[in-house]
C-alpha cells in the first residue's frame, strides 16, 4: 500500500466526487448555489474543447460514440482545431498507445490499462470515457470489498420487502446503466476486486446481456457499451485476472515516460494545475528544480545515470511521474508556508527522501549510495546533497 501513497490524491479525489455528486443533487433540489467542487469531471472541465470537437468532427463515428475515433485521438493527444481552438494534451507520451486504446474500444473489445502506479491510467480512462460517451461518471471503484451488486445490480431492500421484486426496487449498478445507455463503464483497480466478482464480467463482456431473473427480464446492451478497466502491475497476485477474463480484454501497458523532456513536461504541467487548484501562494517552481527531481527519479528507476556512465541500484519504490509531481507540489507547499516562497533544495529533500525510501533498510542504502556516488559528484547539486544528508541523518 505504501507504494500507492503518491497516487492517493487521485483516489481520494474520486471518492469526493461521489460525495459531491450526492451533495449537488441535494443542492439542486433545494438552494441554488453550487458548492465549490474539488475536482470536476473531465467532461465538465473540458466541456469547451469537447463541444468544439463535436462541431468539427466529420469523420464516421462508431454507433453510440459521441466523437469519432480521430477526434477522440485529437482530444487525448492535443492539437489545434480548424477554428483555432487549441486542445490541451491530456496524455503526454506515445501516441501509438492511445491509438491502440481507441482502436480497441472501436472494435468492441474491453480495454485494460495496465501499468505501474502513477502512470496516468485512471486519467486516460476518464478522458476516454468523457470523449467517447460524453460521460465519465459510470465508475466502479474496485476494492477488496466490491461485491456483485457493483457489477450487476442491487436491491432497495425496503421496497423489495414492501412491494416484492419490481423494477422500482432494483438498484442498477454503473455497469448496468452503461449497458442500458450504450456508454462506457469504468472499473478502477480491477485486480483488487475479488476473483468471484471479477468472474461476473466474463459473460457480461462476451454476451453484453445482463439477465435479472427475479423480474424475468434481461438488459440487452446497446451499441456503444464497453468497459475500460485499470489495474496496476506492481501488486500483482492480489487477485490475478483469470485467463478467461484476460482474454476478453485488450491490454495496453502505460509505461513511465520515455524521455526526460517528456517527463519534465508532464510534471511541470500537472504541478502548475495542482498548485492552482490547491491555491498555493508559492511561485511557480523553477524548471531547474523540477529537472533535478525528474532526473533523480529517472536515474534510480532506470538503474543508471542519464549519461549512461555509471550504474546505480534501484529502490523498491515505483518512482512514477505522479510521485515526482507530488514531491514538487510538496516542495511548493513547504516553500510557501515555511520558506520564502521559492522552492529550494531543502524544501524538496524531505519529500524526495520519503518518496524514494519505502523500505527503511534496503532503500535507505540505495538512496545513500546514490547520494554519495552521484549527487555528491555533481558540481551544482551540492545544496541538494547536503539537504538530503540532513534529512537522512
Amino acid at each position: 500500500m505504501t507504494s500507492e501513497s503518491p497516487t492517493q490524491h487521485v483516489k481520494t479525489d474520486a471518492k469526493t466526487d461521489a460525495k459531491t455528486d450526492a451533495k449537488t443533487d441535494a443542492a439542486e433540489a433545494g438552494t441554488p448555489p453550487r458548492p465549490q467542487i474539488l475536482r470536476p469531471h473531465a467532461e465538465e472541465l473540458f466541456a469547451e474543447e469537447l463541444s468544439a470537437l463535436r462541431r468539427e468532427d466529420e469523420r464516421p463515428r462508431p454507433p453510440g460514440w459521441v466523437l469519432s475515433p480521430w477526434a477522440t485521438k485529437l482530444y487525448l493527444l492535443g492539437g489545434t482545431l480548424r477554428s483555432g481552438l487549441a486542445i490541451r494534451p491530456k496524455y503526454i507520451g506515445s501516441a501509438r498507445l492511445i491509438e491502440i486504446a481507441i482502436a480497441t474500444l472501436a472494435t468492441d473489445r474491453a480495454l485494460l490499462l495496465y501499468g505501474v502506479p502513477g502512470t496516468a491510467k485512471s486519467w486516460v480512462s476518464e478522458h476516454l470515457a468523457a470523449a467517447i460517451s460524453g460521460d465519465s461518471k459510470l465508475l466502479v471503484q474496485g476494492t477488496a470489498g466490491t461485491d456483485e451488486s457493483a457489477m450487476r445490480y442491487g436491491w432497495n431492500y425496503a421496497r423489495l420487502l414492501a412491494e416484492g421484486p419490481s423494477a422500482e426496487a432494483l438498484v442498477p449498478s454503473p455497469m448496468m446503466r452503461a449497458l442500458e445507455g450504450g456508454k462506457l463503464a469504468r472499473i478502477e483497480e480491477l485486480t483488487r476486486v475479488p476473483s468471484e466478482v471479477q468472474d461476473t464480467l466474463i459473460t457480461l463482456l462476451s454476451e453484453k446481456i445482463l439477465p435479472v431473473p427475479e423480474l424475468g427480464i434481461e438488459i440487452q446492451g446497446r451499441k456503444g457499451f464497453n468497459v475500460i478497466a485499470t489495474a496496476n502491475n506492481r501488486d500483482r497476485g492480489v487477485n490475478e485476472l483469470s485467463s478467461a477474463l484476460l482474454r476478453r480484454f485488450n491490454t495496453v501497458v502505460l509505461p513511465t515516460p520515455a524521455t526526460l523532456e517528456e517527463e519534465l513536461a508532464i510534471v511541470e504541467q500537472r504541478v502548475g494545475e495542482l498548485g492552482r487548484s490547491l491555491e498555493l501562494p508559492a511561485e511557480k517552481p523553477a524548471l531547474a528544480e523540477i529537472r533535478r527531481v525528474v532526473t533523480i527519479f529517472r536515474e534510480l528507476r532506470g538503474g543508471k545515470t542519464l549519461d549512461g556512465k555509471a550504474k546505480v541500484k534501484s529502490p523498491s519504490a515505483t518512482l512514477s511521474p505522479a510521485e515526482a509531481i507530488s514531491v514538487v507540489t510538496n516542495g511548493l507547499a513547504m516553500a510557501a508556508y515555511y520558506g520564502d516562497g521559492e522552492v529550494k533544495a531543502a524544501d524538496l529533500a524531505a519529500s524526495l527522501t520519503g518518496a524514494i525510501v519505502k523500505d527503511p533498510v534496503q532503500d535507505r542504502l540505495v538512496w545513500l549510495e546514490y547520494l554519495q556516488t552521484v549527487v555528491k559528484e555533481r558540481e551544482d547539486w551540492k545544496d541538494l546533497y547536503r539537504a538530503c544528508r540532513d534529512v537522512l541523518g
Binding site: P69, W70, K73, R96, E99, I100, I102, A103, T104, A106, T107, R109, L112, Y114, S243, L246, R247, F249, N250, T251, V252, V253, G303, A310, K311, V312, K313
Partner: protein
C-alpha cells in the same frame, strides 16, 4: 541505333519493390539486365544461378591480401537485385554489375572505411532506395575500427565517422564529405536532402517516419503499374533541387552510364536496376566524353570476390549493418504470402506462442486482425503493417507483456534463416587468415588426432597457443586442451593440446567469419558480443579465457562490463564465486607475456562489495546455504592468499573477526571463520581456546555447538593435532554431553571428522595417549591417571584379535570403549 534503356529505381531489400520489379521485368522481357553492384564480382555472378545457392547470402569483396577491408553485399530472396539477377540468369540473358569497380574504390582510398561510408551517406542514409554498395561498410566498421586502431593508419575523423555511422548518418556526413570530395562546401539544406531524400518526400506527404511512408507507398502497393515511373519522377524532382554530384559520387554515376552505353550498343532492351536515388542520373546518356574524363586515370587494386552464407540476423540494423532492414522475417513473409499477410502473420505468431506453451486462441487471432485493421484505419492506412500487427499482438495475445513480444520479434520478425553457398564458391577471409597462421606456425590441419606439447617460453609455441585459444573462443574447437602430465596450474609454462581437424570446422570458420575477417578481429568481436549477455560468473570465466588468447583490446570493455554488473549484483555469493578467477588472472596473467591487465581496482571493488555484504548475507542461513557460504568463504580466502597483498589480507581478517563474533550467524560459518583466521595467523592458541569454549559452552544447544565444531574442524584435523586448547575444550564439551544430546549430534561430528586423513587420525590417537594434565572434564570421564588394570585390559583382547585375525586368548567380551567414538 542503340537499344532502349528502362530504369527501375528500387529500395534495398524491399519485397514490394522486388515483386513489382519481377512483374515489370516479365512484362518487358529485356535482353540484358544491369544491376547496381560491383563489376569486380562478375566472375562469381553466375554462381547466383546455382541450384545450391540459397539466400540469404552475401557477396564478399576485399582487396587481395587485406580481407579486413572487405565489403559485403547481402542479398535476401526478397531483395529486388537478387530477383533481377535470378531473372536474368534464368532466362540466359547477360547480367552485369554496373557500379564503379571496387578495384578503383579500394585503391582510391587508403583508409578502408572512410570511403564506403562517405559513399554511403550521400546516396542512401540508412536503407532507403539507393545502392547496395552502401550496404557494405557499417557491418564491418565496428570491428574494423578496432583493427585500425592498432595500425594507427587512420585519422581520428574517420573513427568518429564510423561510430556515428551506425546510429545516425547525420553526424557522419560532415567530416567524410570534406575528406572524400576535396572540400566541397554544402549548404545545410543540401546536405539534408542528400542524406534523406525520402525523408523530404515523406514530410511533404505528411508523414514523420520516412520508413513508414515508403512502406505504405511502395512496399504495400498491390498494383505495380506506373510504380517505377513514379519513383523516377519523384527522384528527378528531388535531384532538380540539388546540385549535381561531385567527386566520388559523380564517378560512380559516370561509371554506371558508361556501362549502360556499352550495353545498349549490343542489346535492344536493357533493364537497369539501381538505387532510386541514382535513377534520374542514368536517364540522360549524353556526355560520354565527360564521363570518360572523370573516370580516367583511376588507380586499381586487385580484389577477390566470393559468396558467403548470410543470416537474417546479420541483415538487421541491430547487427550494425547500415543498409539493413528492421524485420527481414516480415519481409520474407510479405514476399512469400502477399495476400492476406496480416491474417497469416497473426496466425503464425499465435502458433509460435502456442509452441512455447503460451495461450493463444483462434478467437485471439481474430481479435488481433480486427484490432490491427482498426488501427490501420485510425492511422489512415490502406492495410495494417508490421507496426499495427505488432501492437495488436502485444495488446491482445501477449496482454501487454514484453517477453512474448520479444519472442515474436526474434523468431518471426527477424528469423533464423541461414543461407547456403554452393561448393565451388571461393573461401572466406577468416579461413584464409587461419590458413596463413597455420602455415606460419607450421600447424597443418589433419584429420588425425595429434598431441601437441607447447613450451610457452618459446615464441612460436606461444603464438600457437594463442591461436588455439582464440579459435576456442570463436567456437572452432580444432584443439582441445588436455592436462599436462604431472603438474597442473595456470602459471605453468607448459600446455598440452590435442588437435584434430574435422570437416564441420570449416563451417564453423565461415560462421565465425561473421564476427570478423581475421582471427584476432573475429575473436575480439565475439568476446564483445558474449560479454553483453553473460552474468557475473560467466564474465570472470570469459576474462580468464581471453587472457591466453592475447587480445588486449577486448579486455578494457570486459572489465568495464564486469564493474557494471558487479555494481548491481545483490548476491554476495555470486561475487564471492567470481573472485578466484580474477585473482588467478591477476596473479598469473603476466606469465604468458601477455599485456597484463590492471585488475587491482576491479578486485578491490569486488572485495569491497563482498566485505560490505558478507555479514548480512551470513545471517539466518539454513544448513544448506551455510554449506554454500562456507564454500564461498573458502574461495575468497584462496583468492586473498593468491593475491598476497597485505591490505587485502588485513581487510579480510577484520571481516572474519566480525563474522566470528556475530551471534546471528550460522554457527558453522562462525566456526569456519575461526578456522580461516587460524590459517591467516590471526588467531593464536589462547584466543582460539577462548572462542571455542564460548561457542561450545553449555548455554548453547548441543546441535549449534556441534555445527560450530564442524565448521572449525571439517577438512583437516591438523587444528586438533596442533592446538591443545581446542583439544581440551572439545574433549571437555563432548564428555559433558548427556547421552541423548550426544546421540543427536554424533552424525554431525562424524561428518566433521570424516575427511581427516589417516596420518592425522594416527597422530590424534597418539595424542589421546600422551595428552595428560588438567582437564575440564567431569567425573564420568575415565581418568588417565589411574594405573592400568590388567584384568580389564585383557577383556579387549578377543575383539582386537578378531580384528587382526589372530588366535584369540580366552577372555570374557570387552565392554565398549568410549574413546572409540572419537576419531
Amino acid at each position: 541505333m542503340a537499344g532502349d534503356v528502362h530504369i527501375f529505381g528500387i529500395r534495398h531489400h524491399g519485397p514490394g519493390c522486388a515483386r513489382s520489379l519481377r512483374a515489370a521485368l516479365e512484362a518487358l522481357e529485356p535482353d540484358c539486365v544491369l544491376v547496381e553492384g560491383p563489376p569486380d564480382a562478375e566472375g562469381v555472378l553466375s554462381l547466383a544461378g546455382d541450384e545450391a545457392m540459397t539466400p540469404p547470402v552475401a557477396l564478399l569483396i576485399y582487396p587481395d591480401g587485406a580481407p579486413e577491408r572487405a565489403a559485403y553485399y547481402p542479398f535476401a530472396v526478397f531483395s529486388p537485385e537478387w530477383q533481377a539477377i535470378r531473372y536474368g540468369l534464368g532466362r540466359g540473358i547477360p547480367v552485369r554489375f554496373m557500379d564503379l569497380p571496387l578495384a578503383n574504390r579500394f585503391a582510391a582510398q587508403p583508409q578502408p572505411a572512410a570511403e564506403p561510408s562517405d559513399d554511403k551517406t550521400p546516396t542512401k542514409p540508412a536503407e532507403m532506395g539507393a545502392d547496395e554498395n552502401d550496404a557494405s561498410p557499417p557491418a564491418k566498421a565496428a570491428t574494423e575500427a578496432k583493427a585500425k586502431a592498432d595500425d594507427g593508419a587512420s585519422e581520428p575523423a574517420d573513427e568518429a565517422d564510423k561510430s556515428a555511422d551506425t546510429n545516425d548518418t547525420n553526424g557522419a556526413k560532415a567530416p567524410s564529405e570534406t575528406s572524400g570530395t576535396s572540400g566541397t562546401s554544402g549548404t545545410n539544406d543540401r546536405t539534408d536532402l542528400r542524406i534523406d531524400p525520402l525523408g523530404v518526400l515523406a514530410e511533404a506527404a505528411g508523414y514523420n517516419d520516412r520508413e513508414l511512408w515508403w512502406e505504405h507507398q511502395v512496399e504495400q502497393r498491390q498494383d505495380p503499374t506506373g510504380l517505377f515511373q513514379g519513383i523516377l519522377e519523384a527522384m528527378t524532382a528531388l535531384r532538380a533541387e540539388h546540385p549535381p554530384p561531385v567527386g566520388h559520387e559523380a564517378q560512380r554515376e559516370a561509371s554506371m552510364r558508361k556501362i549502360i552505353r556499352a550495353a545498349r550498343r549490343k542489346h535492344a532492351r536493357v533493364a537497369v536496376v539501381c538505387g532510386a536515388w541514382h535513377g534520374p542520373a542514368l536517364v540522360d546518356l549524353r556526355g560520354a566524353k565527360a564521363d570518360s574524363a572523370l573516370l580516367k586515370g583511376m588507380a586499381k587494386k586487385k580484389v577477390v570476390a566470393t559468396w558467403i552464407p548470410w543470416t537474417y540476423d546479420r541483415m538487421t540494423y541491430r547487427s550494425g549493418y547500415g543498409a539493413g532492414v528492421r524485420s527481414p522475417g516480415w519481409y520474407q513473409h510479405l514476399w512469400e504470402a502477399p495476400d492476406r499477410a496480416a491474417i497469416r502473420w497473426a496466425t503464425r505468431a499465435a502458433r509460435l506462442l502456442r509452441r512455447q506453451d503460451l495461450d493463444a486462441s483462434s478467437a485471439g487471432v481474430i481479435e488481433v486482425v480486427r484490432l490491427a485493421e482498426t488501427l490501420a484505419a485510425l492511422r489512415d492506412l490502406p492495410l495494417p503493417g508490421l507496426a499495427e500487427l505488432r501492437q495488436a499482438l502485444g495488446s491482445v495475445l501477449c496482454h501487454g507483456e514484453a517477453a512474448p513480444l520479444r519472442l515474436i520479434a526474434h523468431e518471426l520478425e527477424v528469423g533464423h534463416a541461414l543461407g547456403e553457398v554452393p561448393e565451388g564458391a571461393p573461401m572466406v577471409p577468416l579461413h584464409q587468415d587461419l590458413q596463413r597462421w597455420q602455415k606460419k606456425l607450421r600447424l597443418r590441419p589433419s584429420a588425425e588426432i595429434r598431441d601437441l606439447k607447447l613450451d610457452l617460453r618459446k615464441e612460436t609455441d606461444l603464438l600457437r597457443s594463442t591461436l588455439l585459444h582464440r579459435l576456442l573462443l570463436l567456437g572452432v574447437d580444432w584443439g582441445e586442451r588436455t592436462e599436462a602430465s604431472g603438474e597442473r596450474g595456470d602459471g605453468s609454462f607448459r600446455e598440452q593440446w590435442r588437435l584434430q581437424w574435422r570437416p564441420e570446422l570449416a563451417v564453423l570458420v565461415i560462421e565465425a567469419n561473421l564476427y570478423g575477417n581475421t582471427v584476432e578481429e573475429a575473436t575480439i568481436e565475439q568476446v564483445r558480443q558474449a560479454s553483453t549477455v553473460a552474468g557475473l560468473g560467466e564474465l570472470t570465466i570469459l576474462l580468464e579465457r581471453i587472457l591466453p588468447a592475447d587480445i588486449g583490446a577486448a579486455i578494457p570493455p570486459l572489465l568495464a562490463r564486469l564493474q557494471a554488473v558487479a555494481a548491481v549484483t545483490a548476491d554476495v555469493r555470486e561475487l564471492m564465486r567470481a573472485l578466484p578467477p580474477l585473482a588467478r588472472v591477476s596473479r598469473y596473467g603476466s606469465v604468458r607475456g601477455s599485456r597484463e591487465a590492471d585488475l587491482a581496482p576491479l578486485i578491490d571493488g569486488f572485495l569491497g562489495r563482498i566485505l560490505v555484504g558478507l555479514a548480512p548475507a551470513c545471517a539466518s542461513l539454513d544448513d544448506d546455504s551455510a554449506a554454500e557460504m562456507i564454500e564461498g568463504l573458502g574461495e575468497v580466502h584462496e583468492a586473498i592468499r593468491l593475491l598476497d597483498r597485505s591490505d587485502l589480507r588485513e581487510a579480510w581478517t577484520l571481516a572474519l573477526r566480525a563474522l566470528m563474533e556475530r551471534e546471528v550467524c550460522h554457527p558453522r560459518v562462525r566456526g569456519r571463520a575461526a578456522r580461516l583466521r587460524l590459517e591467516l595467523g590471526d588467531l593464536e592458541e589462547p584466543g582460539l581456546g577462548e572462542a571455542a569454549s564460548l561457542a561450545l559452552s553449555r548455554a548453547h544447544e548441543p546441535s549449534r555447538a556441534a555445527a560450530w565444531a564442524e565448521g572449525l574442524l571439517r577438512g583437516s584435523g591438523l587444528v586438533l593435532v596442533h592446538q591443545d586448547a581446542i583439544w581440551r575444550v572439545l574433549d571437555g564439551w563432548l564428555c559433558a554431553l548427556s547421552e541423548e544430546a550426544f546421540a543427536a549430534i554424533a552424525p554431525m561430528l562424524r561428518r566433521a571428522f570424516s575427511e581427516f586423513t589417516d596420518p592425522e587420525r594416527r597422530t590424534m590417537a597418539a595424542k589421546v595417549r600422551t595428552l595428560g594434565g588438567p582437564r575440564q572434564g567431569s567425573a564420568n570421564t575415565p581418568d588417565r591417571g589411574t594405573p592400568l588394570d590388567p584384568e580389564r585390559a585383557a577383556r579387549v583382547l578377543p575383539v582386537l584379535a578378531a580384528i587382526l585375525g589372530v588366535a584369540a586368548p580366552e577372555a570374557p567380551p570387552a565392554p565398549r570403549n568410549p574413546a572409540e567414538e572419537l576419531p
